[in-house]
């Protein structure tokens, strides 16, 4: 009976993992990169590489600098959103909606005009705008990609991603049940043993990062739980979504008052920033949002940059914009349920993490990505054994092989292309950031079609090698296209930029090593395949096929399972 249960769990693990595996690979890879979203964005804006590294101004002083800038540059706009300099960003960034009257072209008749935003990066020392960086989505693209996907409404995408995450949770739990020897095989990795090695690698990356996998999958569902299961709040708040969300996300945007039309000067922001930070026991301020600046009905929201706990709940305060009177405090002394939600949410996004912990998260995320990849490959390796004696390769296996190439080799390649496109598309090109994204999907599309059409060992090698080269050469491309190269960033200890270069270099080398390793295995197996050609069944047992086999070649030449021409 026990064996029966375990077998059914193994079946569940296999299929729940395989069905959504390729999307999970995308979610894991893109989500892992999102831990360094700010750093990726910075790298992708080489104009900012020369920007000041640290500011000696306090946040309150920086707030006044920002206020002055906005008063001259954002005249007439009804909302300023200002992010103050903090630990990870030494500059002020701000954005504001451009008033209708100032927009150059009138909206075409019958069409609702899309609100246009302008943004600026401000040097706190000079109060001047830093050369407007190129238009790019930067690291936000991968961040959005990991739950909004692309080319489809965000709502659909979130349902798809949630569905996959649910399957992932099933796969994790059934995987734990299936794995009989979690502790006995805790440290076991047996290289060069075909299927055994793939299983060991899958187990090691799964078991050793298990707390992370469980946490990230579960909390991932929590981040979108109010979309998946809205009924509780709907009932409790009698349909008043606004009231509910303002309690769940205390630093979210507020409904602002209508402007009165009576002009009134804005209070200096510095006092409010200082007051808020003091009230929060010295915690820094993240963002200042001014609604209706210059109007009698102005309000100013100041939100906290929570650096101490794990929770994502960041307190905020609302002030009257003309008198500076404190109107409201939010997000302090939370109810247990809200606190729990904040901690789970906070664990997922990892904003609290200092650089070292952030690296641990990143490495665990990479382990998860490798776990998904090895799981996918393992299915193909196992399935192939059924055909090793000379049967015709089935459609299912061919499809899985193709999709494996498309995801596991194609996605890194496309990510590298995205970074290259960022540097090679001229900075002044109109509609630049959609173009970068098009390059990403075009590269991925080509890789996927090629992979599905010809899912051979050679194809793995080609795609991994191209992806690896593109990644490994990014540190060379960076200084050539206006960025700060490693020889300036390392001596100056600018780790945000140097870290990106070093990480992609290592990733590139790892991909190249995989490509080289595939080639080596092929070369090593060529004579072996010839020697055992007389006993095909033995040859299949002696060297179980590794990553991929060219399906068609094997079918044509069943005596030579390596697919190499003798």
């Amino acid at each position: 009976m026990k064996e029966g249960f375990r077998q059914s769990m193994a079946w569940l693990h296999t299929w729940s993992g395989l069905l959504v595996g390729w999307i999970l690979f995308l979610i894991f890879a893109a989500g892992t990169s999102a831990y360094f979203r700010e750093e990726i964005s910075l790298w992708m804006k080489p104009e900012l590489h020369q920007a000041p590294q640290a500011t000696s101004l306090s946040q309150a002083q920086a707030a006044d600098v920002a206020q002055q800038f906005m008063q001259t540059h954002a005249q007439g706009s009804n909302r300023w959103t200002i992010t103050l300099p903090g630990e990870r960003e030494p500059v002020i960034s701000a954005f504001w909606p451009v008033p209708q009257a100032q927009q150059a072209t009138p909206a075409p008749a019958g069409e609702r005009r899309r609100q246009r935003f302008e943004n600026a990066t401000i040097d706190p020392a000079t109060g001047e705008r830093i050369a407007a960086p190129r238009q790019t989505r930067g690291g936000d693209f991968f961040y959005r990609l990991h739950f909004d996907l692309h080319y489809m409404p965000a709502l659909w995408a979130r349902w798809i991603v949630g569905f996959c995450a649910m399957f992932m949770l099933v796969a994790i739990v059934s995987g734990i049940v299936t794995h009989k020897r979690i502790f006995k095989d805790f440290f076991t990795f047996r290289p060069k043993k075909g299927q055994r090695s793939w299983l060991d690698a899958h187990n090691a990356t799964a078991v050793l990062a298990l707390p992370y996998h469980l946490m990230i999958t579960y909390t991932g569902l929590v981040t979108l739980m109010f979309m998946y299961m809205p009924w509780g709040p709907q009932l409790a708040y009698k349909g008043d979504q606004q009231a509910f969300f303002s309690e769940v996300f205390p630093n979210g945007s507020r409904a602002s008052l209508k402007p009165s039309g009576t002009p009134a000067p804005l209070v200096p922001l510095s006092g409010l920033v200082k007051q808020a930070s003091d009230a929060w026991d010295g915690q820094p301020v993240l963002r200042v949002t001014v609604s209706n600046p210059g109007d009698a009905n102005a309000t100013i929201a100041v939100s906290q940059d929570n650096t101490r706990g794990v929770s994502s709940k960041q307190a905020s305060m609302l002030f009257n914009g003309t008198t500076g009177e404190l109107l409201e405090r939010r997000g302090e002394a939370l109810a247990p349920a809200a606190e729990t939600h904040g901690v789970l949410y906070g664990l997922h996004i990892g904003r609290f993490a200092n650089p070292f912990v952030r690296w641990l998260f990143f490495l665990s995320g990479l382990a998860g990505t490798v776990m998904v990849a090895t799981g996918l490959l393992l299915w193909a390796v196992k399935e192939r054994q059924k055909f090793a004696k000379g049967g015709r390769i089935g459609f299912g296996l061919r499809l899985v092989d193709g999709l494996n190439v498309a995801a596991v080799a194609g996605l890194p390649l496309a990510m590298a292309v995205f970074f290259w496109a960022n540097r090679l598309i001229p900075a002044s090109t109109a509609e630049r950031s959609p173009l970068e994204i098009t390059c990403f999907f075009a590269a991925w599309g080509v890789a996927a079609v090629a992979g599905i059409a010809w899912p051979a060992r050679r194809m793995w090698q080609i795609q991994l090698a191209i992806g690896g080269l593109l990644f490994a050469l990014l540190p060379v491309l960076n200084p050539l296209t206006g960025g700060a190269g490693l020889w300036t960033t390392i001596p100056q200890a600018r780790w945000a930029i140097a870290g990106f270069d070093l990480t992609v270099l290592l990733l590139g080398l790892a991909l190249l090593a995989c490509a080289w390793w595939i080639g080596k295995r092929k070369a090593a197996r060529q004579p072996a395949a010839r020697a055992t050609a007389a006993a095909p069944s033995r040859s299949a047992n002696a060297s179980p096929p590794a990553a991929t086999e060219p399906g068609l070649v094997t079918a044509r030449n069943p005596l030579n399972p390596s697919g190499a021409t003798p």
Partner: protein, 118 residues
Amino acid sequence: MSPLHITLALSSCVAAFASLGLAMDRHYEDSYGRGKEPAARTRQAFRLIGTAGLLLSLWACVAAVGASQGWVFWFGVMTVSALAVVLLLSYAPRRTMRVLQGGAALALASGAWAALAR
């Protein structure tokens, strides 16, 4: 979070996992030759060192960033250290004892320093 705490957390965790690995027959054989088996007391000592190392690592994590973030930190440290020990036991099993000793020495030194600096 100081580099001292990071060193302590990582070194004690690596030493602990290396020790726990050596307490297992398969890895002991890999490290000391086929057919070798740790004596019952040695095995117990390995397990004791392993447990102590993990606890020390947890202490370092909590001391570094406080209780709530400390647990997250500790799980991350364990994941990375365990992956490193897996590679060690598979590709350089004979060095395991040396890594265990080196890690323990580093952990004791940084632990003493951290205790004195408080």
